[in-house]
């Protein structure tokens, strides 16, 4: 039953190669979707182009449905997949800082990689900044240790939070995504006219 331990099957290097292939597909899809271009990413925040929202929420919905179905069919052991633990406050604070970094810098980490890989200089500067920022965090985290561990809720999922069945959350997320697509499209038309 999935998931599998590829390092045990093919050895350490063989296991790593699986990740190399997954990363390759990820980078290929990001670049093919136009996410190596900071202008397309930033346009999301001005309601001009909604590619970020469309790609991201479509992906979340599709992955969520497939995980849900494969678990229900007994093909995938949900308890064996990695769900990030919730540290609510540093997650929210880090998220806001990243939102600010996104609109100033024009990329997020993954998209800056494909940008730099296609020789975009702004992507390379972003990546250099990212490395500096990550080192800066490692050097200063000792001073904010308490905050960094605040709001700890362990592995805490939306069905647990809302007290409903997983299937109900799946339906809710699909509805949310559709509502967001419709709302943002309406906003885009209102702000920039129907011609665009």
């Amino acid at each position: 039953m999935a998931p599998f331990d590829f390092a045990a099957l093919f050895g350490e290097t063989g296991g790593y190669l699986v990740y190399l292939v997954i990363g390759f597909c990820f980078g290929f899809i990001l670049e093919s979707s136009g996410f190596g271009d900071s202008r397309i990413l930033a346009a999301q925040f001005y309601f001009r182009r909604l590619n970020v929202l469309k790609v991201m929420f479509t992906a979340i919905v599709v992955a969520m449905l497939l995980i849900f179905w494969s678990t229900a069919l007994g093909l995938l052991d949900y308890n064996e997949i990695w769900v990030k633990q919730t540290y609510l406050w540093p997650g929210i604070a880090g998220g806001i800082i990243m939102g600010v970094g996104f609109i100033l810098g024009g990329y997020c980490p993954g998209t800056s990689l494909v940008s730099a890989a296609t020789l975009k200089i702004d992507g390379m500067f972003f990546l250099a900044g990212f490395i500096a920022g990550a080192i800066g965090f490692g050097e200063t985290v000792a001073h904010i240790e308490a905050f960094w561990h605040s709001g700890y809720l362990g592995v805490f999922t939306l069905p647990e939070f809302l007290g409903v069945e997983t299937g109900v959350v799946v339906v809710l997320v699909v509805c949310l995504a559709l509502a967001m697509f419709a709302f943002f499209e309406w906003l885009r038309r209102t702000v920039y006219g129907a011609g665009r």
Partner: protein, 176 residues
């Protein structure tokens, strides 16, 4: 390619989204992890630090767990995934004639100004991604698909930060 931009040849976002969703599912299904980008880049950052100031790395607990003593911060699946992202992005760009030394910037600012903002924005991202324990890929996308409460809160925080500041810095991206 002489085209001003290869935009017209970018994939339809819903097709890109479906393919990304299938890949994200396959990643969870096959290896049990979602997709990640910032963690691997972070390990590269720590490796650079370890090359320059190894004694300091050994004494700083947060990074010593990755690079202290004989530990190699680069022998980790996240680093291989980042190598794959670089390679995949490069090949995709190569096939479409988009691998070209250039700077993407808004019409009102110079490339030089764009570099400065990219550096500042990248630095904030690097700090924020460590604080939040993940980025748009690892937290929002992957955590979002497995319904982690923290990931959903994170996702809305990113959009709040971005949309909150966007109007004030519109000169960076908007036409005159």
């Amino acid at each position: 390619m002489k085209t001003v931009s290869g935009e017209q040849r970018y994939w339809n976002p819903y097709i890109g989204g479906v393919l990304l969703g299938i890949l994200l599912f396959l990643s969870f299904f096959l290896v049990g992890h979602g997709l990640g980008a910032s963690g691997g880049v972070h390990r590269v950052a720590v490796a650079i630090e370890d090359l320059v100031i190894p004694e300091h790395v050994d004494k700083t607990p947060y990074i010593a767990q990755m690079a202290g003593g004989d530990r190699d911060p680069l022998s980790h699946w996240l680093v291989w995934e980042v190598a794959g992202i670089l390679l995949g992005g490069f090949v995709s760009g190569l096939l479409r004639g988009r691998v070209r030394l250039q700077t993407y910037h808004g019409p009102q600012i110079t490339p030089r100004a764009r570099w400065a903002y990219a550096l500042v924005g990248g630095t904030l991202m690097g700090y924020g991604a460590r604080l939040a324990r993940g980025c748009t890929s690892g937290q929002a996308l992957s955590g979002g698909a497995v319904m982690s409460v923290g990931s959903w809160a994170f996702m809305f925080a990113v959009f709040a930060g971005g949309y909150g500041l966007a109007w004030f810095v519109r000169r960076l991206w908007q036409e005159a």
